[in-house]
């Protein structure tokens, strides 16, 4: 069983080679490879999760080098669960992007770079979930990041390059910080292996320990987009193609949260920086959701809710009790699924009505009821309406907060409640604007409106557009373009043509993601007991170190 552990990393990497070798000629073969490999990874992840749950953590030392030298991969309950959810989500997004690619006839483009980059991204994510030492974690991060650079700037259009440069620079910076932290850890302890670090870090002077912890937390907070370090996210995500944004929003930030969970429990028990984490969590929640309230573009709005809800997970990590860790893990699982689903739906909305700017769309509930249902369920799930999984996650976290009873914990419980209500408000706003009201006159068929109809600064008597050419205030202008041609949104940056019939694979993939979100409600009992066991294992620490060090 231990031999299965490296496969979630190796399979996608090998498939990337095949995909690059044959992909340009045999499009169908390329698509088949991607789907087959991701399905296999999903199966493997489920197997690993079950095995780790039954028999304790699994580990493998690659090349059979002993811990300080070799690369160690470990699958315990937490990483098994994360792998399973992430591979299920990546599979959904892959099917979605296949549908989009086929609908846009992207196969006519010369370089089919999407599939290889996507597979490498999956390999990188799996690698970070399985990494058993800091250096391997760093390598996993870098694999993931380089793939994400390519995916974020697909097509190389102006906005994507601009957004991509912010993302690349901030990623580079965090990688450098991470390397410095690794160098410091190694200089202080002589190892980078998690299990050995867990034994040796405790013996260091308190200042050194806290320094290393703070460095690592900063790096992971940049990845996870926790408030003071989150400004890059709403700037860079929304311009990417819909499936790419979806998988980034769902997975890449949660990788940061996973690393926080891992290091806070295994390397730095005792929760010394708990108050700091909770303050950051509160700030992310409140500021993120206020940002979302202010937005009128659906994708940007969702990016802000993403920042806000990262706060919940950090809250759980800051509390550091068994209940809180369990709640945080449930929340991670729930949020990966729901956030990805919402971005996929945003892509569908864009395809239906040409834009995600909420002031320019409307009437979708009547025009496309299925789309409305696909949006409504995850939106309510994100806000935490009772039977859905968002409620279960929030309830778990808040119960842990109340049980903790500290001042910060109570403040955070209040903040989490307020954030949850504001999320409901934001989702209601989106629902009212995009789905419930009648379609605004300028929508899709009338041609493209250059700018939003926000003329609040225009308070002179005559009102209305000035009709001065070139000032951007010409009013609605019908261009010589097919109806509804709008901002570039396909994988390769061509403009989207709106359709009333949505491509079937895209709809089904989104529906599958919605169903996955609902299944967390149906299987809430097994899920919460599993996460409780995972939290207990994280806090115990011995199963992990024993498995890796063989003692």
């Amino acid at each position: 069983m231990n031999a299965l552990v490296p496969l979630p990393v190796l399979l996608p990497l090998c498939a990337t080679g095949l995909s690059l070798a044959f992909g340009t000629r045999l499009k169908r073969f390329q698509r088949f490879i991607s789907v087959a490999v991701l399905t296999a990874v999903l199966g493997l992840s489920v197997a690993l999760m079950i095995a780790a749950d039954r028999n304790g953590p699994l580990s493998v030392h690659l090349g059979d080098f002993a811990p300080p030298l070799g690369i160690t991969l470990v699958a315990d309950r937490l990483s098994g669960l994360m792998l399973t959810v992430s591979s299920a989500i990546t599979l959904c997004v892959l099917v979605y992007s296949l549908g989009q690619g086929m609908a846009d006839r992207d196969e006519e483009t010369p370089v089919a770079v999407f599939h290889p980059a996507y597979l490498i991204l999956v390999a990188g994510v799996s690698c970070t979930f399985l990494a058993g030492d800091l250096v391997n974690l760093y390598v996993g991060f870098e694999i993931m990041l380089v793939a994400s650079f390519v995916l974020l700037t697909l097509g190389g259009t102006g906005p994507r390059i601009r957004a991509g440069s912010t993302y690349v620079i901030i990623s580079l910076f965090s990688s450098m910080l991470f390397l410095t932290a690794i160098a410091m850890t190694y200089a202080a302890t002589g190892t980078a292996n998690f299990a050995q670090l867990a034994e040796r870090l405790g013996g260091l002077p308190l200042g050194v320990q806290t320094l290393i912890q703070a460095m690592l937390l900063t790096v992971f907070a940049i990845k996870a987009a926790v408030f003071p370090l989150a400004a890059w996210l709403p700037d860079s995500y929304p311009t990417a193609p819909a499936p790419v944004t979806a998988v980034f929003a769902g997975l890449l930030t949660k990788v940061g949260v996973y690393c926080m969970l891992r290091t806070e429990t295994l390397l730095f028990p005792g929760n010394r920086l708990g108050d700091l984490l909770m303050a950051a969590a509160l700030a992310s929640m409140i500021i993120g959701i206020l940002g979302a309230v202010a937005q009128t573009d659906l994708k940007r709005l969702l990016s802000f809710t993403l920042i806000s809800h990262i706060g919940y997970m950090v809250f759980g990590i800051g509390l550091a009790t068994r209940q809180a860790y369990g709640g945080a893990i449930v929340y991670v699982v729930h949020h990966i699924t729901v956030q990805t689903t919402l971005f996929l739906v945003a892509g569908l909305i864009e395809r239906r009505s040409g834009t995600t700017e909420l002031t320019r769309i409307g009437g979708i509930a009547r025009a496309a009821p299925a789309l409305a249902v696909l949006f409504f369920v995850p939106a309510m799930n994100l806000a935490g309406i009772p039977p859905l999984s968002g409620f279960i996650g929030k309830l778990g976290l808040m119960r842990a907060g109340v049980a903790d009873g500290g001042v910060w914990a109570w403040i955070l419980v209040a903040g989490a409640t307020a954030t949850s209500l504001l999320t409901l408000y934001v989702m209601a706003k989106v629902w009212n604007l995009a789905f419930w009201r009648a379609a605004p006159p300028g929508q899709a068929a009338a041609g493209t409106v250059l700018e939003s109809d926000d003329d609040s600064d225009d308070d002179d008597a005559e009102g209305g557009p000035d009709r001065m050419a070139g000032t951007g205030d010409e009013g609605v202008r019908v261009r010589h373009q097919p109806a509804g041609l709008a901002v570039a949104a396909t994988l390769h940056g061509h403009a989207v043509t709106t359709t009333s019939v949505l491509p079937r694979p895209m709809t089904w993939a989104t529906a599958a993601a919605v169903a996955l979100g609902l299944s967390f409600t149906v299987f809430a009992g097994p899920l919460t007991s599993y996460t409780d066991r995972a939290a207990a294992e994280l806090l115990a620490r011995t199963p992990y170190t024993q498995e890796v060090l063989g003692r």
Binding site: E142, S165, A187
Partner: protein, 206 residues
């Protein structure tokens, strides 16, 4: 563990230089900064080995005295990764240059819009206060006031038009191919009646 001071000093200087370069706007400078800071950090990693040990020969050397190889392996990995990222950044800088004529990292459009809007609103309030305080209600003064306000609105609009064009990437093909500055876009969109937006627009230089 003793560490060579010169190694540490070099690493610190490299990191400082890289950090300063990374704080600038052009992507090529950021790229250089990343490379330099990356080298500095690699030196840090190497200094984690402590004092230099004996040469790693198989026979005749006490293995305990040989330099720790692991930091070297980590540094090598980091070098390879920096190489890949550098290549990507270079490509991106070139593409950015192709598209906009500069390789500068531009502000987030929303941020810029908010700043510009706040500026314009401030100026308008000031204008209004001055107009009210003046008490001069002649047609002349009123027209001057209206003209001023129209100028302010024109600034906002020109910026919005610029944004909309940037968002659609359907600017002047001539500029796209030859590589024009953002100012040129503003000029080509200039309104013949009003003053040019680039004359007063601090957003373009910022």
């Amino acid at each position: 563990m003793t560490v060579s001071a010169s190694l540490l000093a070099t690493a610190a200087v490299l990191c400082a230089v890289g950090g300063i370069l990374m704080l600038t706007r052009p992507l090529t400078r950021i790229l250089l900064g990343a490379v330099i800071a990356g080298n500095g950090i690699n030196l840090f990693i190497l200094s984690a080995t402590g004092t230099a040990g004996r040469e790693p020969l198989l026979y005749g050397v006490d293995l305990a005295r040989v330099t720790d190889p692991l930091p070297q392996a980590i540094a090598l990995t980091a070098i390879v990764i920096t190489l890949a990222t550098t290549a990507f950044l270079l490509a991106m800088a070139y593409r950015g240059h192709q598209l906009t004529g500069t390789d500068e990292v531009h502000d987030d459009l929303e941020d810029r819009r908010i700043v510009l809007r706040a500026e314009v609103l401030d100026e308008r309030d000031e204008l209004r206060a001055r107009f009210r305080a003046d008490g001069d209600r002649s047609a002349e003064a009123r027209r001057a006031y209206r003209d001023e306000r129209r100028r302010l609105r024109a600034r906002l609009r020109a910026d919005r038009a610029l944004q909309a064009r940037g968002r659609n990437a359907t600017g002047d093909l001539w500029h796209d191919v030859l590589g024009a500055d953002p100012e040129d876009y503003a000029k080509s969109a200039e309104d013949p009646q009003g003053p040019g937006p680039d004359a007063q627009n601090p957003g373009d230089t910022g």
